[in-house]
Symmetry: C2
Subunit: 546 residues, 2 copies
Amino acid sequence: MLLQLYRSVVVRLPQAIRVKSTPLRLCIQACSTNDSLEPQHPSLTFSDDNSRTRRWKVMGTLLGLGVVLVYHEHRCRASQESPRMYSKEDVRSHNNPKTGVWVTLGSEVFDVTKFVDLHPGGPSKLMLAAGGPLEPFWALYAVHNQPHVRELLAEYKIGELNPEDSMSPSVEASDPYADDPIRHPALRINSQRPFNAEPPPELLTEGYITPNPIFFTRNHLPVPNLDPHTYRLHVVGAPGGQSLSLSLDDLHKFPKHEVTVTLQCAGNRRSEMSKVKEVKGLEWRTGAISTARWAGARLCDVLAQAGHRLCDSEAHVCFEGLDSDPTGTAYGASIPLARAMDPEAEVLLAYEMNGQPLPRDHGFPVRVVVPGVVGARHVKWLGRVSVESEESYSHWQRRDYKGFSPSVDWDTVNFDLAPSIQELPIQSAITQPQDGAIVESGEVTIKGYAWSGGGRAVIRVDVSVDGGLTWQEAELEGEEQCPRKAWAWRIWQLKAQVPAEQKELNIICKAVDDSYNVQPDTVAPIWNLRGVLSNAWHRVHVQVVP
Amino acid sequence: MLLQLYRSVVVRLPQAIRVKSTPLRLCIQACSTNDSLEPQHPSLTFSDDNSRTRRWKVMGTLLGLGVVLVYHEHRCRASQESPRMYSKEDVRSHNNPKTGVWVTLGSEVFDVTKFVDLHPGGPSKLMLAAGGPLEPFWALYAVHNQPHVRELLAEYKIGELNPEDSMSPSVEASDPYADDPIRHPALRINSQRPFNAEPPPELLTEGYITPNPIFFTRNHLPVPNLDPHTYRLHVVGAPGGQSLSLSLDDLHKFPKHEVTVTLQCAGNRRSEMSKVKEVKGLEWRTGAISTARWAGARLCDVLAQAGHRLCDSEAHVCFEGLDSDPTGTAYGASIPLARAMDPEAEVLLAYEMNGQPLPRDHGFPVRVVVPGVVGARHVKWLGRVSVESEESYSHWQRRDYKGFSPSVDWDTVNFDLAPSIQELPIQSAITQPQDGAIVESGEVTIKGYAWSGGGRAVIRVDVSVDGGLTWQEAELEGEEQCPRKAWAWRIWQLKAQVPAEQKELNIICKAVDDSYNVQPDTVAPIWNLRGVLSNAWHRVHVQVVP
């Protein structure tokens, strides 16, 4: 049976990333089919996203007509000679225009150097795959998986991968991270152990929903291996109530609740803060934020079953993960009971992410989702829930994820004096064009995201291309939000007219939420020693060519 | 009986402001005893405010010992000659150090020019009364009403007011504002008709609770004359429920709910915005904000009695005032039903303000109080409440009190595209020292207020004395706040050390709320054509003398 599962999962994994084969890992892989890089069809899965469907149709046309014609002369060159053999290392070393740009599909190797600039999705998107396999990207953008694209690609074939090269070097058995899942190669890694990575800007706002494989990942510890059949969630009962030990099936018996929620790490955009003065933390750029459709049981329903009620005195719901450090200390966090018990706050014990079981990196089999609240409280691999009179005593609740004045340093900080971050402030960032890019004059498309905590809707994004002297309103895309429950971001876009004589643009975005909160102009006055809450205006400088 | 009421009210009004005497107005005056300027005893009324009591004790000691000794040589000069007679106009023209500083108490006139700098409460506070009567200020600060203070004052007597001068010129009968109440002379008037005025900064943060007579007043129309005996509040019933016509007594039968709430006008600090570019609106400085203890029936209880329940579809509670323009159009506004029906949101139909019936300027006999929400929704002189599927169609809900991008002008504005302001963003301002002041080097006390909408607590105020290069944390005073229900401001204070060689200070304050929202650095990027939501860092420039 395990072998059957193994086949059904692994045969669909692209050879280039099929690195695990020992029987010991079969169970893990069976538990994490959702980590495999199966194609997702945006236009089918997210039927609201018409603009995207239209865009792909346009691209399809380009691919079907223009590109094929341009490359007509390449046809019939497909080698019938015995192929040249390359190692994965050979491919990996061809990852930029100077060395040439190679990619693989299955066991075939392609030199697409000359195609990069002609890629209908833009050169930067193709370059994300440079030196590696195409499959993870084609899985995200299913439009590629068509005969005319494969035909086009065949023109660039230069050889095949060595068969023995598909075997990866074995990992260190004592490495606590040895069982971490396979990740999507597009993720920009900020830390390998624990694994912390963000999607690149050009993929981040490609759609309203972030595909699971590129959803930003913020782990504090190794990813635990949990067997969904033996998994139990322990919910401590109220005095007079009863404690619960819930299997996954038990959790599925509660009414299933679905909600689209943006998660953001408190450290998103920390890299801008560390330019002001050194901070302690991972160098997140603009990608420690992502959006998914989550489904699960409502926390209020589960707590009610354990006999919990709202009480007059302040109380907190404490969560404990099943991830732990070598001393056995688990990740933990808490939220106020009032939020947990409010059905309108839609706090979930989620077992689905974008219609799939949770990926291992995102808490398989169950995580907390607290709409409108900092990512750190969305405890993954959830093992225990209890109601306490005090906040969680976890390090991450009490000695981290708090904001301080710019005057506070590591000698003067008193973590007891600042409240733990719960709702996050208004945030926005530019994902296109990127800092340092070269754009053509005429119509320049500026794109990004905006989000606010606490269910506050984004009502406006102002964009400046002259460093803040004048402002234009961006068009807000994405789903309309329920009042008071705007849990998800808005993608925004502005088509700015840039005259040919313009040499550069200083692009800025700033958002406003429905409490009319705005972002601060600059980073330095909100600098804090942990580099959290970095939500100043986002600034991007680009060169203009006529 | 009316005459008796007249006596009991009017004889306590200081002669200098006793301007109304026609029988026609007796009823109004009887209904508005709370507008009279009776002494309020902070140390009795607000027993929590120990620091204030202590301060007065210190001042009392100063007055009782030091000052009396210093002025010993003035004793026994009290004239037994027949007094010189002055008109109120004479007094009014002596309102600054150049002309001399005169004040009145009852019918006596005093030249206190030489005492100004020795005033234990500070020269600026005494100067608020320059050229007019002392009574309104002594009513606020009851410590003055003591024998040794009267004795001290007697030294400065220069004569008496002409008896005929106590009669004011009669007001124009056709003036719709003729019946507006008498106001406290300390209020800085931004518009006389309708009456709009704010307390001066030095009084604004004198205490945590703003005394009724100097609570900022924002009227859109003439103040109506309502007889509390015939007053009725009409509450439109739900389908299947019944409409209510509630007398004041009926309203008192609902459970009485008390809550301390800060009200802020959307236009507070507009004067800073209009320095960037012209805006439409009154030139409010930092004083369009005040805090009171309100009591009344909870709106949710009244709505429930009329059969209203929370429904799945979005709905709004519309309020109509009994103030109206010459065409009969009343002031109106609305809030979401979800807020109105939430007991935790504590929305009141208030009939008491700081333990007194509402003053006429603040909605006598009943106003709405919506904690955490812009002042414009706290409808005064409440006449009608209904639940509708749409927001109020009032001009002030749909064509005013909305925020726009700095790029929007009166030619391009589309009021339908912006949400009506409800919750307000984080705000703070410096009330001491004031812009342009001269301070002595050494320890300089910097003081102000901070508040955020939506029940979000102020968690920190950062103060800079070097234009934003470095920051210090201010001490937060005032009551601790309930989580999620921080409806009232915090007064803050910082004692900054200023070296003698320092020539000037560029003082800035900025606050942070518990969603870690911060104020924007500068005004221009949040400029909007109506000059609302002016919450950039507050900046004050002062000269330093050694």
